[in-house]
């Protein structure tokens, strides 16, 4: 195999054959090393969270990827291809200038005009000290009720936008809650405090990707319709939802439901 190996000959066949062999081995080896190197680079430069979210987003069903402008009634139908990152969307301004067309009605859960909402059912509230509070919205609170346990990041840890902000468990199910914006964790709260995280963003944050105004009731109405369908008994006829309030603590009230699927759809986990 090598010139110093017994039986090696400096012949054309040896040189051609072994050169080809070593070239192939080199290509295979360098492909593997290149993948490891690139992955390590992504993890080092905090691109990993964004990449993970983009892969996760691509695996979501199409119904879960509707554009905010469809939810606001500005366009009839549009699927997001920017992983819900409207900051990168070239058409945001064009669609955003269209009048919204969502009937103002009681969608079954309360929401606030003072909060900005993330599609993973968290809200963001700017505080006077420059930090941002993050909490679970009413929809998520109604679905989960009181979580059995909450696992927060440590203080001064960084969370990435759309990365996993904190984890909860409820009735044996693991719930991974996505961060609506990135920054450094300043303090942690919990269900009793009404908020879960306070974070300090790196620089001036761009919050364009978060829902507000008429988009929120349109989105929540669609989410409640989705929940209705997912909670229907298997084999039951589809019925038209005609209003009513979302009852609290649904996971305890409907323990037989397919919570694995429902929680994944609610918190954008593939």
């Amino acid at each position: 195999m090598f010139p110093w190996t017994d039986g090696y000959h400096w012949s054309a066949t040896h040189i051609i054959f072994l050169s080809l062999f070593f070239m192939v081995v080199l290509v295979i080896f360098s492909t593997f090393v290149s993948a490891v190197w690139r992955a390590a680079s992504d993890l080092r430069t905090h691109r990993a969270a964004k990449l993970c979210w983009q892969k996760n987003f691509a695996d979501l069903p199409e119904a879960a990827r509707h554009c905010r402008h469809q939810l606001a009634g500005r366009v009839a139908s549009r699927t997001c291809d920017n992983a819900f990152d409207c900051r990168q969307c070239a058409n945001y301004t064009q669609f955003g200038s269209l009048p919204s067309n969502v009937p103002t009605k009681n969608v079954g859960v309360s929401y606030s005009d003072k909060l900005l909402y993330h599609r993973g059912h968290t809200w963001v509230r700017p505080e006077r000290d420059g930090t941002f509070s993050i909490g679970l919205d009413e929809f998520a609170n109604h679905v989960i009720g009181r979580p059995d346990s909450v696992e927060f990041p440590r203080s001064l840890d960084d969370v990435e936008s759309d990365g996993i902000a904190w984890r909860m468990t409820k009735n044996g199910y693991e719930i991974r809650v996505r961060a609506p914006l990135g920054g450094t964790v300043i303090s942690t709260g919990g269900p009793d405090e009404g908020w879960y995280l306070k974070i300090l963003p790196h620089g001036q944050p761009n919050l364009r990707h978060l829902l507000h105004g008429q988009e929120v009731p349109g989105w929540l109405a669609a989410e409640i319709d989705r929940l209705h369908l997912q909670l229907s008994m298997p084999g039951a006829e589809h019925t038209l939802a005609d209003g009513g309030m979302l009852m609290p603590n649904l996971m305890d009230a409907e323990p037989e439901a397919d919570w694995d699927t429902i929680l994944a759809a609610t918190f954008l986990d593939s």
């Binding site: 012949s11 054959f17 295979i28 492909t31 993948a35 992955a39 992504d42 993890l43 892969k55």
Partner: protein, 420 residues
């Protein structure tokens, strides 16, 4: 399926319907027994040596080499599908790509495992790399198969890392993404390696001057069998993939790929099989009329020994060659699942027969005036090892089907994923 019956639910892709854990374990049980029996038989061969087999110095290639040649041909679907999807951009075949990788991986790793038993001195298996005989087709086969197994492992890693629990680990998911982006490179290397080792397996026989039954003329250093083996392997690979997928659909009771994918694979397989049959016919004509008579052998020297009569030649050419090619190509039959599967099964049977003829009939036929027609019956250890490899393939495929995304719909999952 009720959650309570799926104890491994957390490891199964969300939304995927799978049999209950108990039913799955019951399915695996007989295969596990067969695998254990195969491991025991291989252990006997390692401990006591090759006297556990019915091979001898005259019949040095037996059931195991037939198995190697057969499953390496069947596993060609892996490199060929990768070549079609990544190099020729046939994206509509993407739904079967992961399945093809698993089929290829099990075929090649099974073949190498059997070779390790067959060499009789597994502790010296590395000699073939360290002291290569670069004039031997077998050296080329060994090098290419070993490298291609590495390629298949690298192609399998992204599939494994897409498991529901593993993908929750960010470093795994990022590595899977980066490795997946480089898979076209691996597909190209795989096609290069497969071209040469499939060919060299045929060339191995074609250069045997002392065996007029398989000795062939050719081009340069390559006998015609070099090219015929490549052609037959790429022809039968897609057919085998059709059969494996259809078997998986039958066992699971679910439709796993669209019929159009089956038809496309079948058409590709049929066209290549037709070309192979035509080339094989020309090769046989030249061999029987020029090559073989030049060394004093006529057709009667090969085909007058029952059961390996001219029926084998006819069967490999017409009912297991031309007929399946037509069944896979003609729109009337290709549209009907029953005929399509029949065509794929006949195509696979034809190549199996071809590899059997090259391995067993070649050694059975007398080459000297005082030779007799040899008969060989594999020992139970050979059969059990053979069965163990089949069981290994079924188990790996079953586990992969249950826990990994083998049949992803071509929804352009990765096309939106880029940070570059």
């Amino acid at each position: 399926m009720s959650e309570t019956l799926l104890f491994d639910r957390r490891w199964i892709a969300r939304g995927a319907e799978r049999a209950s854990t108990l039913r799955f374990l019951l399915w695996l049980f007989p295969w596990m027994l067969l695998l254990l029996l195969g491991i025991y038989a291989a252990g006997l061969c390692f401990y006591y040596g090759l006297n556990q087999t019915n091979m001898d110095n005259r019949f040095a290639f037996g059931m195991w080499i037939f198995l190697d040649l057969a499953i390496i041909a069947m596993g060609a679907g892996a490199f060929f599908t990768g070549f079609l999807v990544y190099i020729l951009k046939q994206k509509d075949l993407k739904p079967v790509l992961n399945s093809a990788v698993v089929v290829g991986l099990t075929c090649y790793s099974g073949a190498i495992a059997v070779l390790m038993v067959d060499v009789g001195q597994p502790l010296r298996a590395w000699f073939t790399f360290w002291y290569p005989n670069t004039h031997s087709m077998l050296t080329e086969v060994t090098f290419c198969i070993s490298c291609y197994l590495l390629v298949l492992i690298l192609e399998y890693i992204p599939v494994v890392l897409r498991n529901r629990q593993l993908r929750k680990i960010p470093s795994f998911l990022v590595f899977e993404h980066q490795l997946h982006k480089l898979v076209p490179v691996l597909a190209g290397v795989g096609a290069f390696l497969s071209f040469f080792h499939q060919g060299s397996l045929g060339g191995l026989y074609g250069v045997l001057r002392g065996r007029p039954f398989v000795y062939r003329q050719g081009f340069g250093i390559w006998p015609s069998t070099f090219f015929l083996f490549i052609l037959s392997a790429v022809a039968v690979g897609p057919s085998f993939l059709i059969l494996v997928t259809a078997a998986a659909e039958k066992v699971t009771g679910r439709q796993l790929v669209q019929p159009t994918v089956f038809r496309k694979l079948g058409f590709i397989s049929g066209v290549l099989l037709a070309v192979y049959v035509a080339a094989k016919a020309v090769d046989t004509y030249v061999w029987l009329n020029i090559t073989s008579p030049s060394v004093g052998f006529g057709p009667s020297d090969y085909y007058s020994y029952w059961p390996m009569s001219s029926t084998f030649l006819f069967a490999a050419t017409v009912p297991l060659g031309l007929l399946p090619a037509l069944l896979l190509i003609l729109p009337y039959t290709a549209r009907r699942r029953g005929w399509l599967l029949t065509g794929a099964a006949l195509a696979c049977a034809g190549v199996l027969l071809n590899r059997f003829v090259f391995t067993v009939q070649t050694l059975a036929l007398p080459t000297l005036p005082f030779d007799e027609f040899l008969r060989y019956t594999p020992s139970w250890q050979e059969v059990a090892t053979f069965g163990g490899v089949i069981a290994y393939g079924v188990i790996v495929y079953s586990l992969s089907y249950r826990y990994l995304p083998l049949f992803e719909a071509a929804k352009g999952v990765d096309k939106n994923v880029s940070l570059d």
